[in-house]
Symmetry: C2
Subunit: 223 residues, 2 copies
DNA sequence: TAGATTGTTAATCGATTAACAATC
DNA sequence: TAGATTGTTAATCGATTAACAATC
């Protein structure tokens, strides 16, 4: 998602982490927190938290800090989490299953209303109380159930065509987990999760700090 | 992972995306590619690709472009993907299962040598040919099998303690999928996947472009 | 050779950090 | 009041983009 131009993706990402930590603090019974303590718990500098929040309003009290319940409510409105958005999952592998049973994994309660798969063995069964439909019903159900976000957990080979069809049927956002770069028109929001890049950066880090006999004899390095 | 200081995490992430696209190009039978075409396919500006690669060496030929097979090999060495690193997965939910059956989802062939879960029902069964062990065996197996990376797919409540134990047992990197901020010593590489932030940014984008009756009456906006 | 494309430098842009006056 | 902590400005830092000479 490269459009927007107002508030950057990194800011929104951090906001969702503050949100997660604030809900945990709330659960633990705290009422108020300073940017300093929140930063220590969530792993950010206090100034960054204040700056991020200040982009949207004045939520704190000088000398006191932030009221946790209020801030949770406000971030929820900022991120638009209060919206009731219908979501479909396309592709019932283990990842699709993991996302379908969301509440523990994803700290956002999304409104899953359809699940699709090509496999006739799976069609008709249900997942978390929702019937799995054939991908041939994609367009019909997207329209019928007013689905706005498609979560793509299909194989990479099918991702682009499934995305095209979902967009043509009226979807407005795509959350792509298939390991492939999919293309969408400018007015469609696209977030691609790239599950392997995290692992790649671990490999990279480990190769640089490797000790002992397995030492990599280094590539030419810049500078 | 905030340490390092040489090449930034965003660069490494992009490198892993170039890698993925290059392998696809190779599969499609291409021999050579320019930064321009690669950029068009993977969604980056050609100059960015050249710049990223130039940090590690000179891999292209002026006037011609990059040899695909060579570049795949070189990026693989840069990222350290040629290392044989033993990996454990801790927590057998659907996400753990998805990652255990890696090859399609993750474009990196990691060397999974142990899987842990607390559930006695699961212990003893196998997943992708690997026996699930009780978490009580964590330290013993990490040492015995020389495991360097722990993938945490346990519930959030257990993540920190499991991380502490894995680190004490000698692990060097953690790939965390539990939705909680875990703390590790400076010499341990940590990559936390935050699965909900992508969804949050979709909600944010949709709330800003909402049309029709559901229009959000805006929060105060910066600037 | 002429056209294409790299590697790299310079210019721009944006994000993070430091610092502090305002104020609860 | 004194101490704490915000919101915000200014300084720093880093990343992206544009442009081009070198050269295949």
């Amino acid at each position: 998602m490269k459009r927007d131009g107002e508030v950057s993706r990194v800011t929104i990402d951090r906001l969702s982490l503050y949100f997660r930590e604030l809900r945990e603090l709330y659960r633990e019974g705290f009422d108020v927190i300073s940017s300093d303590s929140l930063g220590r718990r969530a792993g950010f500098l206090p100034g960054q938290i204040r700056k991020d929040l200040a982009k949207f309003g004045e939520f704190g009290k000088k000398g006191l800090g932030y009221n946790i319940a209020d801030l949770i409510r406000n971030i929820s409105i900022i991120l638009g989490l209060h919206q009731r958005i219908n979501v479909a999952i396309i592709g019932v592998g283990n990842l699709g299953r993991a996302l379908a049973g969301n509440s523990k994994l994803i700290c956002i309660n999304f409104n899953l209303v359809a699940i699709f798969d090509n496999d006739q063995e799976k069609v008709g069964k249900s997942l978390n109380g929702i019937r799995i439909s054939g991908v041939d019903c994609l367009e019909a159900l997207i329209k019928e159930r007013n689905i706005q976000i498609a979560v793509i957990t299909s194989p990479a080979t099918l991702a682009q065509s499934v995305a095209n069809r979902a967009i043509a049927a009226g979807i407005r956002g795509i959350w792509n987990f298939a390991p492939v770069a999919i293309k969408v028109p400018d007015n469609i929001a696209l977030v691609s999760e790239d599950l392997s890049s995290g692992l790649a950066s671990l490999y990279y880090y480990l190769s640089k700090t490797e000790i002992g006999p397995t030492r990599i004899n280094g590539l030419p390095r810049a500078k």
